[in-house]
């Protein structure tokens, strides 16, 4: 920092020049001018001379100083512009990163959905093969009867064959409908969601994962429960929770009980399993993204995190209660 400021400099210089002028100018004038009568005239010229010289000096001095200031202002402005540009670039980069992050997140959510869909495919294939088997059985029998009159003495057999075809078609179409509901893409949270039907659909899709030693106890609300929400997402919720319940049962025998209740202003769905349970230290973390107790490749750790988000978007609540060795109870509360 310069202590020698401009105002000090100029004052000192002016005083110096003025003082020296006063001290020496008259002496010089006296020694040069012989005609003493004209002395007062010369003194006036000398005054003018002094004023002009100091004015010129002041002019250059101030100009020099201001130029410095102006230059630094320009540099400052350039610097500022550069800074602004930098901030702009950084902001754009950040926005791009946020956009990428959002895309990745959406991709992950979709991956999780596809992963659960992959698990379900085998189950659904089997589920559809069964009613197809009815239709095939019916076709084979009816074709033979048509060609050879096989069952002419047993008309009730023909009736059974026709009935079987209808059952087969109805069941396949119910399964396909269930699948469509799960995979349908809709952002609306204003769809009519039949809770019992969604739970039942989810069970159909999980059918092949439900091992023979697991018994499912259903205690559904007597009348249909219809809430406003997103049908596809609610399917994902129940497939995730029921899927976890199935995976938790590792011993010889186990039970999964499902209860749906309609209260005054809310709907309560309780899913309890008699599986391995969740340790206390893990219970708080189960809805954290990427938290998983499953082996790599078996779970993404996103299932319950997504479930939690979906329930949140429905303005509902998701509660877990668990005891190691006894099992886990999941309570889902959804507003009506």
């Amino acid at each position: 920092m310069k202590v020698n400021r401009f105002e000090h400099k100029i004052t000192i210089l002016y005083t110096l020049i003025g003082g020296l002028w006063i001290l020496f100018s008259d002496k010089i004038l006296y020694s040069l001018i012989i005609d003493k009568a004209k002395l007062s005239d010369y003194q006036t010229y000398k005054g003018w001379f002094y004023v002009i010289i100091t004015a010129i000096m002041l002019f250059f001095f101030i100009r020099r100083h201001l130029k410095k200031q102006r230059d630094s202002k320009i540099v400052l402005r350039e610097h500022q512009n550069q800074l602004e540009d930098l901030v702009k670039v950084r902001t754009e980069l950040l926005e791009l990163n946020i956009k990428r992050l959002k895309e990745t997140q959406a991709h992950l959510v979709q991956t999780e959905k596809m992963a659960s869909l992959g698990i379900l495919t085998a189950g659904v294939a089997h589920e559809i093969n069964n009613p197809l088997n009815y239709i095939m059985g019916s076709y084979v029998g009816l074709l033979r009867h048509y060609k050879e009159n096989t069952f002419s003495d047993y008309p009730e057999q023909v009736g059974k064959l026709i009935e079987a075809m209808k059952t087969g078609i109805d069941r396949s179409s119910a399964i396909v409908q269930g699948l469509n509901q799960f995979s349908r893409k809709s952002d609306s949270y204003d769809e009519d969601c039949n809770v019992n039907e969604i739970v039942e659909n989810s069970l159909i899709m999980l059918h092949n994962l439900i091992k023979s030693q697991i018994s499912i106890e259903k205690d559904y609300n007597d009348s249909d429960i219809i809430i406003k929400g997103n049908v596809g997402n609610l399917h994902q919720v129940f497939i995730n929770i029921l899927g976890n319940a199935i995976q938790a049962i590792k011993s010889e025998k186990g039970t999964i009980s499902i209860k749906t209740e309609e209260k005054e202003s809310e709907v309560l769905i309780t899913i309890a399993d008699t599986g391995v349970g969740i340790p206390k230290k893990d219970l708080k973390k189960v809805t954290d993204p990427f938290f998983t107790t499953k082996a790599p490749g078996e779970g993404t750790g996103l299932g319950l995190s997504i479930t939690y988000n979906i329930i949140n978007e429905h303005k509902g609540k998701l509660e877990f209660e668990s005891e190691v060795g006894k099992g886990t109870t999941v309570r889902i509360v959804l507003p009506k």
Partner: protein
């Protein structure tokens, strides 16, 4: 009636059992049951049964578990699986080890099954 080949069909789905019964009764004498345990009882009751066809996924005892137990008692009988699933490792092993002759897919192919039985 007695000159017909006797076969057992086990499936936990009533509709499948009924259709199998109607279709295969034309050419064979068919006994049916809804579980592996019922299958074992039928085998005990009708010793001249030649062929056993079983569904795979059933409660309590799956098709392979049932056949493993049955094959121990009746190694001369021919066993088959009829399943709606793709070929699983369990079924593959059962074919390799000679526990079952073959596996049929649902929806079933009547001619394929008849051809297999008539070979015997």
């Amino acid at each position: 009636m007695s000159d017909k080949i006797k076969i057992i069909y086990i499936d936990d789905e009533e509709m499948n059992v009924m259709l199998f019964q109607i279709n295969f009764s034309v050419s064979y004498e068919v006994y049916t049951g809804y579980s592996g345990l019922e299958g074992l009882k039928l085998l005990e009751k009708y010793p001249d049964i030649k062929v056993v066809i079983s569904d795979m996924s059933m409660p309590e005892m799956n098709g392979i578990e049932f056949i493993r137990e049955a094959k121990e008692k009746y190694p001369e009988k021919k066993f088959y699986i009829l399943t709606g699933y793709e070929l699983t490792g369990e079924i593959q092993n059962a074919i390799k080890s000679g526990l079952i002759q073959k596996y049929f897919r649902k929806p079933f192919d009547m001619r394929e099954i008849e051809r297999e039985i008539n070979k015997l």
